[in-house]
């Protein structure tokens, strides 16, 4: 009887033990293994940026970062089966040749036992990784998985794209402005590791995959951008300018097709970049535009039917009816000049008089509707507002100078946007460079819809204005060098005097030369602005001599690339060829 009871008790104990083992193995297998538990955050892949053709501009790529531990390199025995242990020098040779490092420098690092975490290299070479990760070949090299932001075109579009630093913090450009879209959601792993610290994959408890960041698709075209940057740099070199900028904008919807600013920088080395290089002059630089502003004054007066293109003004500078007109002695031989000719010859006196007669309040209001004195809203950080004081605060000097582009300051993007209104039959569209933002699963998060910003002038005035501007790029205008074979150009030159900070008046011999043109003039496809900033006196500092040349070269290539039909084919085809 007693024997039976003992047997039964033992069996019950065995059953209980087995039962609890079963339950624990299914419900909570890790109760006894707290020391082997780990939790790790998985970084999300940062979104990419693509151009209008779908070509990638920026991508995050998984890379390996290698660090050397001299102590582990010396102490750990490394050998292949059947071979003697490898000496440290042989290991260093393997590492150096795999990573393309200097052997002597690497060997010197391997004997510096004070520093047990010495940076070796960052690499994407999977063959090098395979060799270094082989414990039979190499010891003492720590490998960590990282993400590297790769700017596939080097300095191209650097001001638009911006940069991220080593801590993956956005520093400038779209990287900064759209950081919240580009940064994904990190994932999480919770599991167990073995005595060597390696994860036991079958013991993983939590596994939440990271969600990659969204991709941004731009309206900019990398081929046009390449052309714009190359032509701009060549122009700066040819004419001896210190800086420059160029913008190509779609004439109908305000999409920016290329945006170049020089000096530029390498986004991969943002820490070594100077403030001068970091500045995106297309949106973050204000300057007195000079004569390119005359188009706005004349368009405003034409729109109000205050004058007609053939209305005549006398070209006398010392006219008692006007307050200190800005002088240009180039056309004193003409006693009278029409408004249209004033644009073609860029007459300060005539346009100054016209602006004076037109009235400061009306001129100010037109300038506002053309977009001056306010941000355009383009999707880039650091956009400047420009300077356009309220008309009530204008003195008489401002009144006579604002019509010719002095006493007001604009940004290049504001100027292009104003010309875009003239190109688009009076309708100004919001300048933009983001077409759409696409989530990691292909879903569209944002798509730009063309947004009208107002109609400063009527369609009729815009067409008249383009006709008025056409002869500028001809033998009788100020920019014959801007003429493009096979296409009509409606544009305007500008040679703005520069003002140095902390000094009264304009600096002698320093100019910003501009040319802004609409092509083709009758059926506009693009608006192009080219400006060169001279920090010393140069012989070709006028807009018609320098910027117009860069404009012609750049626009000729852009028209071919965009396959814009010629509106003057007779200029292209040589009759002899037929």
């Amino acid at each position: 009887m007693t024997r039976l009871r003992v047997q039964a008790a033992l069996l019950i104990l065995f059953a209980l033990y087995s039962g609890q083992k079963l339950v624990r193995s299914h419900i909570d297998p890790s109760v006894d293994d707290v020391d082997y538990m780990f939790e790790r955050e998985l970084k999300a892949r940062r979104g990419s940026i693509y151009d209008a053709t779908g070509y990638p501009l920026v991508k995050s790529v998984p890379i390996w970062e290698y660090h050397l531990d001299p102590v582990a390199l010396t102490n750990r025995v490394v050998r292949r089966k059947g071979e003697p242990p490898r000496p440290p020098a042989a290991i260093v040779k393997t590492v150096a040749s795999a990573l393309g490092l200097n052997f002597r420098e690497t060997l010197a690092k391997s004997t510096n036992y004070k520093n047990r975490y010495q940076f070796l290299a960052r690499s994407t070479d999977s063959e090098a990784h395979r060799i270094i990760a082989d414990s039979r070949l190499v010891a003492g090299v720590a490998i960590s998985d990282k993400q590297e932001r790769q700017y596939l075109h080097g300095t191209l579009m650097s001001h638009v794209l911006g940069s991220i630093n080593a801590e993956e913090e956005a520093s400038a450009g779209l990287e900064l402005k759209y950081d919240r879209f580009l940064t994904g959601v990190p994932g999480r792993i919770q599991g167990m590791k073995d005595a060597n610290g390696r994860e036991l994959y079958d013991k993983r408890k939590i596994s939440i995959d990271p969600i990659a960041g969204a991709d941004i698709h731009l309206t900019l075209d990398h081929n046009l951008q390449y052309e714009a940057e190359n032509q701009l740099k060549a122009g700066i070199e040819e004419f001896g300018a210190a800086a420059g900028w160029a913008i190509i904008m779609n004439a109908t919807n305000g999409a920016v097709l290329a945006m170049a600013s020089y000096p530029d920088f390498d986004p991969s080395a943002y820490g070594k970049t100077t403030d001068e290089q970091k500045l995106n002059r297309c949106v973050g630089y204000t300057y007195e535009p000079g004569s390119v502003m005359k188009v706005i004054t004349v368009a405003s007066a034409l729109n109000e039917k205050f004058v007609r293109p053939d209305s005549l003004y006398n070209t006398k500078r010392d006219d008692p009816d006007y307050y200190r007109l800005p002088g240009d002695g180039s056309h004193v031989w003409e006693p009278y000049m029409s408004v249209a000719d004033a644009v073609v010859h860029s007459s300060n006196i005539v346009v100054g008089k016209l602006g004076y007669d037109f009235g400061q309040e009306r001129l100010y209001n037109y300038m506002r509707t053309f977009g001056f004195g306010a941000k355009t809203g383009i999707e880039l950080p650091g956009e400047e507002v420009g300077i356009l004081r309220d008309w009530k605060r204008w003195d008489k000097a401002t009144w006579s100078r604002a019509p010719i582009g002095q006493a007001v300051a604009v940004t290049p993007i504001q100027l292009v946007s104003a010309y875009q209104a003239i190109a688009n039959d009076g309708l100004r569209m919001r300048p933009h460079l983001i077409d759409r933002i696409v989530g990691p699963n292909g879903e569209e998060i944002y798509r730009h819809l063309d947004e009208p910003m107002g109609r400063p002038i009527s369609a009729e005035t815009a067409r008249t204005m383009r006709e008025v501007m056409k002869p500028v790029a001809s033998a009788k205008g100020t920019a014959r060098r801007a003429a493009i074979k096979g296409y009509s150009v409606a544009g305007k030159t500008g040679t703005a005097q520069k003002k140095l900070p902390g000094q009264r008046g304009y600096a002698s011999g320093l100019y910003i030369a501009s040319f802004c043109g609409i092509v083709p003039a009758d059926n506009p496809a693009i608006v192009v602005l080219v400006s060169l900033d001279f920090d010393a006196h140069r012989p070709f500092h006028q807009g018609g001599n320098s910027s117009a040349v860069v404009f012609r070269k750049l626009t000729t290539e852009a028209l071919k690339y965009l396959m814009v039909p010629s509106d003057k084919p007779e200029e292209i085809f040589d009759e002899d060829l037929d």
Partner: protein, 131 residues
């Protein structure tokens, strides 16, 4: 009578014990079988999990390799790199000249003078850079 009662008592006790022993033994055998079955199942599960883990790691590594290689190629195909590569072979990349473009009219026919022999001959220009 007395003997009969004694026998009945003994028989009853013996039969009851036999039944109880049989029940407990059955439960134990069943539990033991369950433990063995569970261990076998778990071992099999672990093997499959390890295989899945290894395959997932391989997939992830291959995906990363693909991304790296794709990016490397994309970096080589940008206009600047292509220009440099062509220059290394004594070639220069240009957009076509006006005479190398055939322009079509609205009637989808080449404009006048587009397909002339002289034009074709004059457009036969090779952009070769002399080293």
């Amino acid at each position: 009578m007395k003997r009969y009662k004694k026998n009945r008592k003994r028989n009853k006790r013996m039969s009851v014990s036999a039944v109880r022993t049989l029940n407990v033994g059955g439960v134990i055998v069943m539990l033991f079988a369950m433990v063995i079955f569970n261990m076998l199942a778990k071992t099999n599960e672990q093997t499959i999990q390890k295989e899945i883990g290894a395959k997932m790691r391989t997939l992830s590594a291959l995906e990363e390799d693909r991304l790296r290689e794709e990016t490397r190629w994309e970096g080589m195909k940008n206009p600047g790199s292509l220009q440099t590569a062509l220059l290394n072979h004594g070639l220069k990349m240009n957009t076509p000249t006006d005479l190398q473009i055939v322009r079509m009219g609205s009637n989808r026919m080449p404009l006048k003078g587009q397909l002339s022999v002289k034009r074709a001959q004059s457009s036969r220009v090779r952009n070769v850079v002399r080293r």
